[in-house]
């Protein structure tokens, strides 16, 4: 096992009352576990506000973890995440959703790309320059891009620069937080294919956070569906798409639009069916507080959240 997340919880306190005391908690991430193997892509799908980004940010150390463990290469790194210069921080990098705001507008591209190199690798100025040229070549940008500022690039180019920065220190895991949702469709395909290429070339492990099932299906071998800070279903891409178990997953899958006009009416009928099914079985799939149940295995790799009472039915 390369990397493991064990029962990760991120709770935010809600303050209020006369003395500004903690009166409640927001359960942004509420007990999720994942296992990562080297060179694979893992998808994290869910509606907005379900805690996908918080998960990514807490893994890389931008959010405090309330409880749970992160084990990386056999070592517990839960408390090392925030120590910026550790090997863990070098090996795990992030691609941000909005590449424009993720780059300092006052810095030239060469300084932006040099930032991780200067922090993590001790290279001489010549080697550093060579590495920057190399990175630009990897992401298919001309060398004169070095002297430009981020605002001089298009959205797709900026995202590729973001990727170049993320792979600058030869990381092993890349957390991609909705890397293409700010781009238009033609550029999305370009960036996604490019991400796949570098994954194959460098054996990267991706944690691919997205709300777009199509993108995740294209990119990932393993998908986890998240809802209200918990996993409702997790399994191989094939299992999730062909044999969805949880009503939330079914509902999500039925919402994928299809462009063909043939079979439009049947598809609509099915969507209505799924929706009524969802409303009817809501009580069976979520407990009385609306919390998602714990995961139970369906097959060896496929897990679904289910109440203890209907466990036998599956």
């Amino acid at each position: 096992m390369f990397m493991q997340i064990d029962n990760l919880k991120v709770h935010y306190p809600v303050r209020g009352g006369f003395f500004n005391r903690v009166i409640d908690h927001v359960h942004a991430v509420d007990g999720i576990s994942m296992e990562f193997e080297k060179g694979k892509a893992y998808g994290l799908v869910g509606e907005s506000g379900c805690g996908k980004s918080t998960t990514g940010k807490s893994i890389i150390g931008l959010e405090k973890i309330t409880s749970g463990k992160i084990i990386y290469e056999g070592e517990d790194v839960t408390n090392k995440r925030r120590d910026r210069k550790s090997a863990y921080n070098r090996d795990i990098q992030m691609i941000f959703q909005d590449s424009h705001s993720a780059m300092n507008p006052r810095k030239r591209v060469q300084d932006i790309l040099a930032e991780p190199i200067r922090n993590f690798l001790s290279l001489s100025p010549q080697e550093e320059r060579k590495r920057i040229n190399e990175l630009l070549a990897i992401v298919g940008m001309p060398e004169d891009a070095k002297l430009k500022y981020p605002h001089e690039f298009s959205g797709g180019q900026k995202q590729r620069l973001g990727i170049a920065r993320a792979i600058a220190t030869n990381p092993k895991v890349i957390i991609a937080d909705e890397p293409v949702s700010a781009l238009d469709l033609s550029v999305q395909a370009q960036v996604l294919n490019f991400m796949k290429d570098i994954q194959n070339e460098y054996g990267l492990t991706y944690l691919f956070i997205s709300h777009d099932l199509g993108v995740v299906k294209h990119m990932c071998e393993h998908i986890s569906i998240m809802y209200k800070g918990r996993f409702v279903e997790t399994g191989n891409t094939k299992e999730i798409f062909e044999n969805p178990q949880h009503i939330y997953t079914k509902r999500l899958l039925s919402a994928i639009p299809e462009v063909s006009p043939i079979g439009r009416i049947e598809r609509k009928r099915e969507r209505v069916n799924v929706e009524t099914h969802y409303q009817k079985e809501h009580n069976l799939s979520f407990d009385e507080k609306g919390r998602v149940f714990d995961l139970v295995p369906v097959t060896e790799t496929h897990f679904v959240a289910a109440s203890p009472t209907i466990k036998e039915v599956i």
């Binding site: 210069k85 993720a102 300092n104 993590f120």
Partner: protein, 301 residues
């Protein structure tokens, strides 16, 4: 030739103007600010050159009763006061003192205020809470009164003590403004990115966040500078500024307290009053041009 000029134009159009280019264009559009800026530079240069190279303070402050209230003319360019001392010389030395104090206070308060503000805004949490309570404390106490008390208590004080005392009460305002800007800037994604790329907090604060706040810092510093000239003048006017033997703009203006001088010997107080008025206005015009340059919605150019 035509193609070359076209190329140049398209180059300018493709990259939005940044930094000094924007400021330059703003001044070209706003003639008043341009004139003010040139005026300030010339006056400041003249005052410092004259004060340090050509004017002897002791000579100017020597009392000569024969020249009591001498009218402006050949011997004295702007006349003399009741001690027969040259008004023009006092004006130059006074302006030099006021400017020096204002520059000193502006530098000290800006550096301190910016550092404290950035640290509060970036770290937040309990650090921010503690420092903000200290700042609230400084803002609520009446500063002018306390400065006067300090000046009265310290037996022999110089220009430097005055700078330090004024600075003590002027930094919280800057710190507060910078904090509010740093709070929003520190939540931006590029700061998060820098964190994940292993950059330490102090480099993030001073190399990443501060350059992005530079426009607001320049504006604030300029406008504070105008205010700080005022503080020294007010203190001297009230008689608590520089020691009485040192010429000061405030002292010159305070001659107008005497009705006789106010009516008959206008040259004693009017030049200093006009100088303060024009200086403050000019600095404010320049500051406003900077402010417009910093905010794209207000730009003229």
């Amino acid at each position: 030739m035509v193609s070359v000029s076209n190329d140049k134009n398209s180059n300018i159009a493709s990259s939005p103007p940044t930094g000094f280019q924007v400021i330059f264009r703003e001044f070209i559009k706003d003639k008043l600010a341009l004139v003010s800026l040139i005026g300030i530079i010339l006056v400041t240069a003249y005052v410092f050159i004259m004060a340090y190279l050509f004017i002897n303070v002791d000579e100017i402050m020597r009392v000569s009763l024969r020249d009591k209230y001498a009218a402006p003319g050949e011997k004295f360019l702007l006349g003399a006061d009741q001690g027969g001392r040259d008004i023009f010389g006092q004006l130059v030395i006074g302006a030099k003192n006021s400017l020096e104090i204002a520059i000193g206070v502006t530098i000290i308060t800006s550096i301190f205020g910016i550092i404290v503000g950035l640290i509060c805004g970036y770290f937040g949490g309990w650090i921010d809470n503690i420092i903000m309570r200290i700042i609230d404390f400084f803002i609520t106490i009446p500063s002018l009164m306390l400065i006067i008390v300090f000046v009265t208590i310290i037996p022999k004080y110089s220009q430097y003590d005055l700078v330090l005392i004024i600075s003590l009460f002027a930094w919280p305002g800057i710190a507060r403004l910078v904090r509010s800007k740093a709070l929003s800037e520190g939540k931006r994604d590029y700061v998060n990115a820098s964190k994940t790329l292993g950059t330490n907090d102090f480099i993030i604060i001073f190399r990443e966040i501060m350059p992005n706040l530079s426009s607001i810092l320049i504006v604030e510093t300029t406008l504070n500078f105008a205010g700080n000239i005022g503080i020294e003048t007010v203190l001297s006017y009230l008689g608590f500024g520089l020691p009485p033997s040192t010429p000061s703009l405030g002292t010159l203006v305070s001659y107008a307290n005497n009705p006789l001088i106010l009516q008959q010997y206008w040259w004693c107080w009017l030049p200093a009053a006009l100088f303060i008025l024009i200086m403050m206005l000019a600095i404010n015009f320049v500051g406003q041009a900077f402010r417009r340059a910093a905010d794209a919605r207000q730009r003229l150019g």
